[in-house]
């Protein structure tokens, strides 16, 4: 069955009645949901005075303080490269490993399979505050402090459980005959992964990738602990530092936030469909 087709499928013609009340409700809800985005946009071009006298209504375009965006870029720009580096590596790494793991769980019922699966699942239940200290000493003993590699490794490890969990369900649903046919052709496990699993689970991989990317993008706890040098800061830390200022220039802060989201906006703009489709597809399983 084609999931793309499922989304695009026409709705039942049997549903009668006018749609506008639905639209109204949906639009009202969406407006509230989009409020933070709106605030970020409109405050980013205000100075403190304009913001404090009138926080809610945007300024007319003539009064926009565009230098806010420039200083926002200056404040936060240097961190973007680091964040991209960490987020891309962590995403690729964690998905790669998760695919292997999920393939193992989904395709074969090897001895100890259940035990291993339990090992994965129990992790979801553990609260992690006190773990930070041992984790930190671990990173210290392997000499990974004050380096972006630590963040990448943590990103990879942190994503495993959730990704393996979702991918497994997905791979289990791939028709068995595809694999059997491949095996008869003498395909190795890696070839099966490449030729069957990846093409068949493109949307969910895309979705997981975007979620992992978002997670790495917004993470601030570990970077805060691990990174010392300003040149290594990722966006999460940068924003926390910005938020800790006592002299608040709201316009500049919001502009910095906006700058921090621009790469995400771009990615979303271009992969929106993939993302939505992936979420839609992956979700059917559970």
């Amino acid at each position: 069955m084609s999931r793309a087709a499922a989304i695009a499928a026409p709705k039942g013609s049997g549903r009668e009645g006018s749609d506008w009340p639905k639209h109204l409700i949906i639009l009202a809800v969406l407006c509230i949901e989009l409020l933070p985005f709106y605030m970020m946009l409109q405050i980013s071009v205000k100075d403190n005075h304009a913001f404090l006298t009138n926080p809610w209504v945007p300024l007319p375009p003539g009064e926009w303080q565009l230098q806010n965006l420039v200083s926002g870029l200056k404040l936060i720009g240097p961190y973007i490269a680091n964040t991209v580096f960490v987020a891309v590596c962590a995403t690729a790494g964690s998905l790669g490993l998760a695919l292997l793991g999920a393939y193992f769980f989904a395709r074969y019922d090897m001895p100890f399979n259940r035990l291993l699966w339990a090992i994965f699942l129990v992790l979801m239940l553990m609260p992690g505050v006190a773990n930070i200290v041992p984790l930190f000493s671990l990173l210290k003993s392997v000499g990974l402090l004050n380096s972006l590699n630590a963040l990448i490794l943590l990103g990879i490890a942190g994503g495993q459980v959730f990704q393996v969990f979702l991918l497994r369900n997905f791979i289990e649903d791939i028709p068995k005959d595809l694999f059997e046919a491949a095996e008869i052709d003498g395909a190795s496990h890696f070839q099966q992964l490449r030729n069957i699993v990846i093409p068949m689970s493109g949307p969910i991989i895309g979705t997981l990738a975007i979620l992992a990317f978002l997670g790495a993008w917004n993470d601030f706890m570990m970077p805060l602990i691990v990174l010392r040098d300003k040149e290594l800061f990722t966006l999460g830390v940068g924003l926390i530092y910005l938020d800790g200022e006592y002299v608040k220039k709201w316009g500049e802060i919001m502009a910095a936030y906006l700058v921090a989201s621009i790469p995400l906006i771009l990615i979303f703009l271009f992969t929106m469909k993939l993302f939505i489709r992936g979420l839609s597809a992956g979700a059917i399983k559970g």
């Binding site: 998905l95 695919l99 890696f190 490449r194 990846i198």
Partner: protein, 291 residues
């Protein structure tokens, strides 16, 4: 790209993992053994700077190899075992054993006394559940066995601590305090004497709120001298206040004055000047700092 690695690459990846793990283990070992002390002197220096782990490692190794002066090294091992983290019963027992052994050395020397004192402190402050009776017994043993060694006199203030602030009815405490007061003259070491006086003074003050009986002990302490400046100021002030409360204006005035000499940056100075003024002495405000 990433997902289409072939089998051999995966094997390489697995090997890489082992390398990473091995490197991690080696890394922690290296960092543990990277720079250590090379002599007992250096190990003691480390111990005095609270770098107990490194110091202990050296002492423990030196005990094994039997190098350097054996008793000192054993003492080092025991002393560092007391603060080695995590603190375990086994460590304390081991320290206790070593210290008892060092303390038993005859003819008794300073090291033996120190070991005996430390031996007494284990049940007093180091065990998870303190055993005050045992600590008292050990301190008293130190006092008896090493009578004549000024170092051993440091057991006296500890005995006073344990007996005054131990369990028992107030009247028994009075007897204890009075009995202990008889010991004071016998102490020759000024530090032991000073601390002994301090415990007695605080004893009268805490248990009986008796300024009159506490005062002489505080005066004696002032005579013997306190090293740290803020503590010295506090002591002068407390002595003066106690003298004031027990009606000895002369003494009070003297100690108030001594307090004021060093109190340019103390917010109690004006209060003290008021006290002096009450007693008919006027002291001009001192130059306020250096501004």
């Amino acid at each position: 790209m990433f997902l289409s690695r072939n089998h051999s690459q995966s094997r390489r990846r697995a090997r890489l993992w082992w390398i990473v793990c091995a490197w991690a283990c080696a890394g922690s070992l290296v960092s543990a053994h990277g720079s250590g002390p090379t002599s007992a002197r250096e190990a003691w220096e480390l111990a005095s700077q609270l770098r107990v782990e490194e110091a202990h490692r050296w002492f423990a190794a030196a005990v094994e190899t039997g190098q350097e002066s054996a008793r000192e090294v054993r003492f080092g091992k025991a002393a560092t075992l007391l603060t080695l983290q995590p603190k375990t019963e086994a460590n304390l027992r081991e320290a206790e054993r070593l210290l008892a052994e060092i303390a038993a050395f005859r003819p008794a020397d300073d090291l033996a006394v120190e070991a005996a004192l430390l031996h007494a402190r284990i049940p007093h402050y180091h065990c998870l559940v303190p055993d005050r009776a045992e600590a008292l017994r050990r301190y008293e043993a130190v006092r008896e066995q090493f009578a004549g060694n000024p170092l051993a006199e440091l057991a006296a203030p500890r005995i006073a601590l344990l007996r005054i602030f131990g369990p028992g009815p107030d009247e028994a405490k009075r007897a204890v305090l009075e009995e202990l007061e008889g010991w004071a003259e016998g102490l020759t070491d000024p530090v032991a004497r000073r601390e002994f006086e301090r415990v007695l003074g605080e004893g009268w003050l805490t248990v009986f709120r008796d300024d009159v009986r506490a005062l002489p002990h505080f005066v004696k302490m002032c005579e013997l001298g306190v090293v740290r400046r803020p503590a010295r100021l506090d002591l002068f002030l407390r002595t003066a206040e106690m003298a004031r409360a027990s009606g000895q204006q002369e003494v009070a005035r003297d100690f108030y004055a001594r307090f004021l000499e060093g109190s340019a940056r103390d917010n109690r100075a004006r209060l003290v000047r008021d006290r002096l003024a009450e007693a008919g002495v006027s002291v001009p405000a001192a130059g306020e700092g250096e501004r």
